[in-house]
């Protein structure tokens, strides 16, 4: 039996994991990963809306991601789902699947797929620096590593989170009469910024746009303490001098922000590294805080997992293909349809 397996040449990875119109398809396992269109069986790496879309027949994801999707999609979430914790293998058709932490947001997972003697790791979105709101990325040796490339240009080297939070707190000292309106994505970035502020010793209440409150409560239920949060209402809006207010990224351009006392408009995003991007968005205080790997982290991660073959998706494939090619990897772009540039 053992001799038989060894003598069978492993089928090429691209023959059993490939791009289909619906997204990345694993035929021998009978599922799609982060499909962009409704499918019968979906494996979801994390809860961001460009990965976790509604309308699938059944969903396999980590318990946290399932909870996030239920909170976001309500009745549209399928009744058939499987909550699979990190590190527990599951058999799907002819494929064995295991989730490992991706360090991106709460519940984010890499999917390790094993079939025909080959292991492919689909890492989803990930980052490598410590994040108090989710467990760290766990490198897994593999034959093919599928990586994101959101910030795959060497100009993207995120500074330390503590440094960026320090800049926010310094601005509060310089402009104590102004509200500090920080744009954050509702899932992940928002809770991370709050946690980083708490780590920096900022214990005052943080004021929240209503759209962010639901996921904050969910994080707290999953054991991520966020400290005192206060909902911004029309009644208290004018009283927020010298306070930190978190809101979705577009809120500063909305009428919602008007009653705030002369807000300093800040934004927490990896794109804030590029001055022109920040200026074009009308940002006065850009905070380079990202939930995606920067260039150095992408480079280091590929070296750590040791896969001779790397498939690149979600961003600037060409630069990473070029760079990894020079280092001797077989690197190529995995042209995924329907995935937009995710930001943050």
């Amino acid at each position: 039996m053992t001799a038989m397996t060894q003598s069978t040449a492993p089928r090429s990875p691209a023959s059993w994991l490939k791009i289909a119109p619906e997204g990345l398809c694993c035929a021998p396992g009978g599922f799609h990963i982060d499909p962009v269109q409704p499918v019968e069986r979906a494996v979801i790496t994390h809860g961001h809306s460009d990965h976790a879309r509604p309308g699938h027949g059944s969903v396999l994801a980590t318990p946290e991601t399932i909870a996030i999707m239920q909170a976001r999609y309500g009745d549209e979430f399928p009744t058939r789902y499987h909550a699979l914790p990190y590190g527990e293998p599951i058999r799907l058709g002819e494929v064995s699947l295991t989730f490992a932490p991706a360090g991106h947001v709460l519940g984010s997972a890499q999917a390790a797929l094993e079939h025909a003697g080959t292991r492919i790791v689909v890492s989803g979105d990930y980052k490598r620096r410590p994040d108090p709101t989710c467990p760290p990325f766990q490198p897994m040796p593999c034959d093919v590593f599928v990586t994101e490339a959101t910030f795959a240009l060497p100009v993207f080297r995120h500074p330390s989170d503590a440094h960026e939070i320090g800049r926010l707190l310094h601005s509060l000292e310089i402009f104590p009469e102004r509200a500090h309106l920080v744009g954050t994505y509702a899932l992940g970035k928002c809770q991370r910024v709050i946690s980083l502020l708490r780590q920096a010793g900022y214990n005052r209440p943080i004021y929240m746009h209503g759209a962010l409150l639901g996921l904050c409560a969910l994080y707290e239920r999953h054991g991520v303490p966020l400290g005192p949060l206060i909902h911004v209402t029309n009644q208290n809006k004018a009283e927020l001098k010298g306070q930190i207010v978190l809101a979705p990224p577009s809120a500063h351009a909305d009428r919602w922000s008007r009653a705030l006392p002369d807000p300093v408009v800040a934004m927490a995003s990896g794109w804030m590294r590029i001055k022109q991007r920040a200026k074009a968005g009308g940002i006065e205080l850009p905070l380079v805080i990202s939930d995606h790997a920067d260039w150095d982290e992408l480079d280091r991660t590929v070296d750590e997992v040791g896969a001779p073959e790397v498939w690149i998706t979600h961003g600037r494939e060409e630069a990473l293909v070029h760079h990894l090619g020079k280092k001797g990897y077989r690197a190529r772009a995995l042209a995924l349809v329907g995935f937009e540039e995710e930001g943050q």
Binding site: V155, R157, P159, F175, H252, A253, I274, K275, E284, R316
Partner: protein
Amino acid sequence: MQRFAELLEGLVFQPARNGKLRLIETYFREAPDPDRGYGLAALTSSLVFTQAKPALIRGLVEARVDPVLFGWSWDFVGDLAETVALIWPEEASPHPVPHLTEVVETLSTTGKVELPGVLMRWLDAMDATQRWALLKLITGELRVGVSARLAKTALANFGGVDVNEIEELWHGLAPPYLELFAWLEKRGEKPAVDGEASFRPLMLATALEEDETQGLDPADYMAEWKWDGIRVQLAARPGGQRRIFSRTGDDVGRAFPDILERMEFDAVLDGELLVVRGAEVAPFNHLQQRLNRKVVTKAMLTDYPAHVRLYDILRDGEEDLRGLGFEERRRRLEAWYARVRPERMDVSALVPFSSWEELKALREGARENGIEGLMLKRRDSPYLAGRPKGHWFKWKRGALTADTVLMYAQRGSGKRSSYYSDYTFGAWRDGALVPVGKAYFGFTDEELRQLDNWVRNHTTNRFGPVREVEPKLVLEVAFDSVHRSTRHRSGIAMRFPRVHRIRWDKPAEEADRVETLEKMVVE
């Protein structure tokens, strides 16, 4: 370098004047001597050292980084200094991050040959923001939206003194301004400055509305034409310093060597810088050809000859004349001019009059180039810094107006970042609208709210912060004049356009045509 780099970065993103002032004041409070003095010098363009050319910086980075990746990155980022700052490999450096003082002092003694090695060592030791600030500094292109005047105002706020006190001292001081900071922190005497061609803060006029002449006696005032040029102060000492200051105290002499070389006198004069050919004043945009140029070519000197029309004298030799009344100073100016006769300069003529009606008729009759209206000066006014009430008035000709159609609106910055507050408007040509100008003031807060609402409800297209709107709303815009322009599709450009009235009532088809505006062009 850390604090200075953070200051520059903060200034780049800070849209509001008050916000910029606050950032600079904070820097003066937090940074030590002599760093903050060199920081002040950088903001006021008072540093002199060997600058690095972009090609040198590019060479340094391409020796360190894969040129293909560098090229893609530069395409993506757009700005060379920023790209290099971000892409520079970060490895542990044996060198500490240099202080701003070390950077400035080293650069002032470093020749072109050693410069690359020095830069490389610094870039290795710094973080991305520091590298960016260093590269901006050594290429001589800070571009953080801070004038020398603004930096001095922040300094005045920091020390709790009048900015004019700083202006008077300024050109007698040099970086790193230790004495100045000591005085501002009440640790030392006010620095003594004399024998210098230093700036005297200007006396400015207030606007006079039509009905305000009633309470004024025409016999108390003298009138001159108001010239459409640039207010300058000429300050010269014999055998040495010669300076041409702008109204904000910036030294603009480098752009006007044709004036500087003729300042062989010992006086401080106030006047209007113009381009004059023969006896004729050229339109303002001819003068603009001479401004903000690093290199003044021979052709520019010939094609756009500069001229100063003098209207006041503040110092004659050792004698400070600012305490005298205007009429007396004027006599002194005429006597001085008759004695010295500098080329490329003349004395602004007085406009005799006996009643306000007569003067008003003269004003409306004068439509030639270079005249914006009239200046009224009280005969007995001393020369006072700032904008004292009741002494000098500018009495402009009525503004021109046109009915235009709102085409695009852009979100403002700072307090206006949630409002569409910058408006591009157009006029008709062959049945289509052609943009003819841009205005972002002239309306009340309430009107801004209404305009913002209208823009949001009539958007047809979005491009980043800009919205294209249905061509339906008529804006009556006011402007001072119209000029030909090859940079605009309409072929014309307005001076000081502002929203005069929102014509909610008027159908867009009845707005003005481009031809109507062309007829207003001053040739």
